[in-house]
């Protein structure tokens, strides 16, 4: 359906359209990075793709060093002809792309999210800040080399419960602990999450009466 648009792009831009595809009916074209803005303008003014739909990126680190690592993907639609086109380009780590805000204003938050998640900069973007994550966040989480287990809490997690006072009538070792679940400890058998009564039975914990400091007092003293 939108094949004509792709053909028109190919005839207009020639070898700067590097690749076209209609896999599963999605018509898409990959353009050279330096033609990104030009093709986008052409799509809007000449092909009637006036509705911005989506903008995202995909990280292919294994393509390096022959090919650029990131692929930026843009989806647009025409309200008059109902056609949809996907435009892609590849960009190296550290290189920039021109912003598409002058063409479609909706690209604003799309580009900010790509910058936040992948670290791709857009030249000419008036306000390129992190949008989903906080300013202090280091790295870009949707890159494939960002480990999924990594945490960057702004306020350190409590890892011990010793300094947290539980108010009477609760003793220091009653109820759930305030700290994070220590999965490593749990695997080693030192489970903090079982109820005190069971823990005493299984020997993971001393009974209140046997503790030298006197369980409930230890919590509230501090």
């Amino acid at each position: 359906m939108s094949k004509l648009v792709i053909e028109r792009l190919a005839s207009q831009f020639g070898d700067r359209i590097l690749e076209t595809s209609d896999f599963r009916g999605d018509d898409s074209a990959r353009v050279a990075a330096d033609a990104w803005l030009e093709v986008a303008k052409f799509l809007k003014s000449e092909c009637g793709m006036n509705q911005f739909t989506d903008m995202t990126a995909v990280d292919y680190p294994e393509r390096e060093p022959e090919e650029p690592r990131f692929e930026v993907v843009l989806c647009v639609r025409s309200t008059s002809t109902n056609q949809r086109v996907r435009l892609k380009t590849r960009v190296e780590d550290g290189k920039t792309l021109p912003t598409l805000i002058p063409v479609w204003a909706g690209a604003d938050w799309g580009e900010r999210e790509i910058f936040d998640m992948f670290g791709i900069r857009f030249e000419g973007h008036p306000d390129l800040r992190r949008i989903l994550l906080y300013e202090e966040f280091e790295g870009h989480p949707l890159r494939k080399d960002y480990p999924i287990e990594k945490t960057q809490p702004l306020i350190a997690y409590r890892d011990t419960t010793a300094h947290v006072a539980k108010l009477p009538p609760f003793g220091a070792d009653e109820g759930q602990p305030f700290g994070r679940i220590q999965w490593q400890e749990r695997l080693k058998g030192r489970d903090q999450q079982v109820s005190p009564a069971i823990a005493v039975q299984t020997g993971q914990r001393q009974a209140l009466s046997q503790t030298s400091a006197g369980g409930s007092a230890a919590g509230t003293e501090e």
Binding site: F23, R24, D26, N50, Q51, F52, T53, D54, T56, V58, D59, V73, C75, T79, N82, R84, R86, W104, A105, G106, D108, W109, G110, E113, M117, R130, I131, L132, L133, Y134, P141, L142, Y146, I148
Partner: protein, 405 residues
């Protein structure tokens, strides 16, 4: 009252601060549902500039999807738009099926449509109810939530959960419809329609409600299209773009329903559009209940995609192996990338998915409709009054889980 003498300057004029005042609204504000922060620059009560800062509910949906199997995305998808989880379930299932190149049996498609439209009604009920409640109309809010509860009862009977169903599967549905579905829905519909009229009566001619909604939070058609706004927000500006009509997917081309549009793009139009869409959803559900095949499978019969039935798993070696491979390795989705879209509660819910041929998604991009709708809210809020943020933001229907992912 004592005269303010100290504040007077030499000429006798009162020195008033002339710089705009900066005010933080949210993230913990009763009207900023979904935890969002707005930084406002105020000139008196007029908003000169606004910076909307989402992200407080970011859980890393897209990253989390990259470490499980395709099937394991469904519980995450539930928690995107938690007001209409069935629509997210369906949207993701359609996306993966598009990449797989399979069609599920008709009965399954109809079942998805019925549950999805019920979820859409829940979404609109919540949004309109909350909008009305924030303007002081508490009664319609309670009525609408009561109606939503009736729908949740139906959904609970069908799927086993009230909110986070995880009921769709790649290649079909988890279970066929229960025998009570038709009766339950048909019993609810007249009750629902009567109650909806009651709700409308309480607000639509109410002076306070009208003053706060009419000509407030206006979005122009041209800007809406350019900003990528979809769903009710786009339709309220007069564009008749509904994915169900414009690009009929599933079995939506077989139903007779209308797409309500507004013409001002203000809060009132959005409220009315949502009200009318609920009725249109009921029309779709009624037709779907008539057309749905009474028996037959709801899922594809392909052990590479769907888990085999339990008796087969326990009694045949083929069943056991198929089950093991699907659970341990996941569905082998062919390498490639597709963008699939459907009409969710707030607009076009798109999934751009990339597979590398293994059992794990390489990339799952969710195009949340609220994301771009919320971007457009800058223009609706700017220049207005501080108090108008509340109805305007309410009618954007931003869902934190979906927007921040």
């Amino acid at each position: 009252m004592e005269p303010i003498e100290d504040e007077l300057s030499e000429e006798g004029a009162l020195e008033l601060p002339s710089e705009p005042m900066r005010l933080n609204m949210g993230p913990s504000h009763p009207a900023m549902h979904g935890t969002i922060r707005m930084v406002l620059d105020l000139d008196g009560e007029t908003i000169q500039n606004v910076d909307i800062q989402p992200g407080y509910l970011h859980r890393g949906f897209e990253k989390s999807c990259e470490r499980g199997t395709w099937q394991q995305v469904f519980p995450y998808a539930d928690r995107l738009n938690y007001v209409s989880p069935m629509l997210n379930n369906n949207g993701f299932a359609w996306a993966v099926e598009k990449l797989l190149g399979i069609k599920i049996p008709e009965r399954g498609e109809y079942y998805r449509v019925i549950l999805g439209e019920l979820a859409r009604i829940c979404d609109h009920l919540t949004c309109n109810g909350a909008s009305a409640m924030e303007l002081g109309a508490f009664t319609p809010f309670l009525w609408m939530l009561k109606l939503r509860d009736f729908i949740w009862d139906i959904l609970e009977e069908e799927t086993g959960a009230r909110m986070t169903h995880s009921f769709a599967r790649i290649g079909g549905m988890a279970k066929p419809p229960t025998s009570n579905l038709e009766r339950n829905v048909l019993e609810l519909i007249p009750k629902f329609e009567a109650q909806l009229i009651e709700c409308e009566k309480t607000v639509l001619r109410n002076r306070i409600f009208l003053d706060r909604m009419e000509k407030v939070g206006i979005l122009t058609q041209a800007r809406a299209i350019e900003l990528g706004v979809t769903g009710v927000m786009l339709r309220s500006t007069g564009v008749d773009y509904d994915v169900r009509k414009a690009h009929p997917y599933s079995v939506y081309d077989r139903f007779d329903f209308d797409v309500p549009v507004g013409h001002d793009g203000d809060n009132y139009d959005r409220f009315l559009c949502r009200m009318e869409e609920m009725r249109q959803s009921l029309r779709i559900i009624k037709q779907a209940l008539q057309q749905i095949p009474k028996d037959g499978p709801v899922s594809v019969d392909d052990v590479r995609v769907m888990l085999p039935e339990k008796p087969k798993v326990y009694s045949t070696i083929e069943g056991t192996i198929a089950h093991f491979k699907l659970v341990m390795e996941g569905i082998k989705v062919p390498a490639g990338e597709v963008y699939s879209f459907s009409e969710a509660g707030n607009g076009e819910l798109g999934f751009f998915i990339v597979s590398d041929g293994s059992g794990t998604p390489y990339r799952v991009r969710c195009r949340p409709p609220c994301w771009f709708n919320l971007n457009a809210a800058h223009e609706m809020i700017r220049g207005g009054m501080i108090a108008d943020i509340i109805p305007t933001f309410g009618s954007v229907n931003m869902i934190g889980g979906e927007c921040d992912r």
